[in-house]
Amino acid sequence: MISMIRIDDRLIHGQVAFVWTKYLGVNRIIVANDQVVKNDVQKMSLKMATPDTAKCSILSVEDAVQVLNDPRAESLKILVIVNNPTDVRRIIEKVSNIPLVNVANYGRISSDLGAKRKLCDTVYVTDVDVEEFNKIIDSGMKTEYQVVPTTTAKPMAELLKK
């Protein structure tokens, strides 16, 4: 079963490796990204960063969808990590029973922040991103902004209204 999909442009890092995996109690992490899956160095370092308690698989978005729809996935506890809302939308279109979309860090890594709209300290979006988020929310998905589990989660819809 899928615990949640997280949007984090740094994929697996301190907050994820150290905090979220333990909090959710997952034993599988899927990094779904069409670029990273082609980069050996990045794949290796992501696997190194994964804590012992979970196994990490780096897959293209399509492969991730296939794996998540496999009946064997039910008995596993899976955290899916992507680095943009478009990939989330692509996944939820083809995979059901995802309980939560978690938005954490997105948009600060690109160089042109001026062209983006700031939703909060760690999320900056373009118009395309807003469209994708709206599609995700409109599909009925519980979509929340929460960087670490000790802070209160805010519905993404609220952030988008600003």
């Binding site: 907050q15 150290f18 333990k22 599988r28 196994k55 698989s57 780096i58 492969d63 596993l76 000790t150």
Partner: protein
């Protein structure tokens, strides 16, 4: 200048208090500088900071012991990735300063440190906002090709942040000590007892937080081994550390050798077909 000195002398406690406040402010500068200027070398943790405060206030041994108490309380509080759940530095320095200046016990330190550390986060957030505004300045310098100005700004900001805290600390000590004294005096002895008891059990939360991050069913037994070593064998902590270190090194070697063994026996098969993430996802 004379006006400033007159104002300083007018404050309660007179000259002596001001010198101590100055010294504590210096400790604060050093601590905050180490935090972001030296990449967190753990000098900025309660254990060291309370010791330093103890040294400058002339109560070194009490400082060390306060440091131990405060470190236990804040053991689970970590500041990584720019997140600041509590300002451990400000909490520890101010709490230990007040306690040592007023001659109170460790339970007062704990009672003060926790709320102070939470309140001080506001200061951090404000500074971070200001520094975020400075990003534009950095970019402007680079656009204009002023690399030296860029570097100077970085250095300035690094040196300025600790200074802000120092100034606040100075005034917190000179103006706050009498206030704290009054508050503490008004605490009934029953409550003091309660605080003392609480200070004794609070570390358990810190340990639980750490346990949560370290816990792994495979090696969970070692938690109980460590526990038993102290509870029954009454081993001093250094002894446990040596024991733990030896076991850790042994585990590392045998684990790694086992991996090498597996890799060499499976060597042929492995190099022929590199494990596909998609296929092995469901294997244990």
């Amino acid at each position: 200048m004379e006006v400033v000195i007159l104002l300083l002398k007018k404050q309660r406690g007179g000259d002596i208090m001001n010198i101590e406040a100055l010294l504590i402010a210096l400790v604060m500068y050093f601590a905050k500088f180490c935090d972001h200027g030296l990449g967190q070398p753990m000098v900025e943790r309660p254990l060291v900071l309370a010791t330093l405060v103890g040294l400058v206030l002339g109560h070194p041994t009490e400082g060390v012991m306060l440091g131990a108490t405060l470190e236990l309380i804040f053991l689970g509080t970590i500041t990584i990735g720019g997140s600041y759940p509590a300002d451990v530095i400000t909490g520890s320095i101010l709490a230990s300063s007040f306690v040592l200046l007023l001659g109170k016990g460790p339970e007062v330190a704990v009672t003060l440190a926790v709320p102070i550390s939470m309140l001080a986060v506001f200061v951090y957030n404000i500074i971070k906002l200001v520094y975020t505004a400075a990003v534009e300045r950095f970019d402007i310098y680079l656009e204009a090709g002023r690399d030296q100005a860029f570097c100077n700004l970085q250095v300035f900001l690094t040196l300025f942040k600790p200074f802000v805290y120092s100034v606040l600390t100075y005034f917190a000590i000179t103006l706050g000590t009498s206030v704290i004294e009054a508050v503490v005096k008004s605490i009934p002895p029953v409550v003091m007892q309660g605080l003392g008891a609480t200070a004794g059990v609070l570390p358990a939360l810190g340990f639980a937080i750490l346990l949560k991050t370290l816990w792994n069913a495979n090696i969970a037994a070692f938690f109980f081994i460590g526990f038993a070593l102290v509870a029954y064998l009454k081993l001093p902590i250094m002894g446990v550390a040596l024991f733990a270190g030896a076991i850790a090194v042994h585990s590392c070697y045998s684990d790694y050798n086992l991996k090498k063994l597996i890799a060499s026996t499976a060597g042929v098969a492995k190099s022929a077909a590199p494990a596909d993430d998609k296929e092995v996802f469901f294997n244990d």
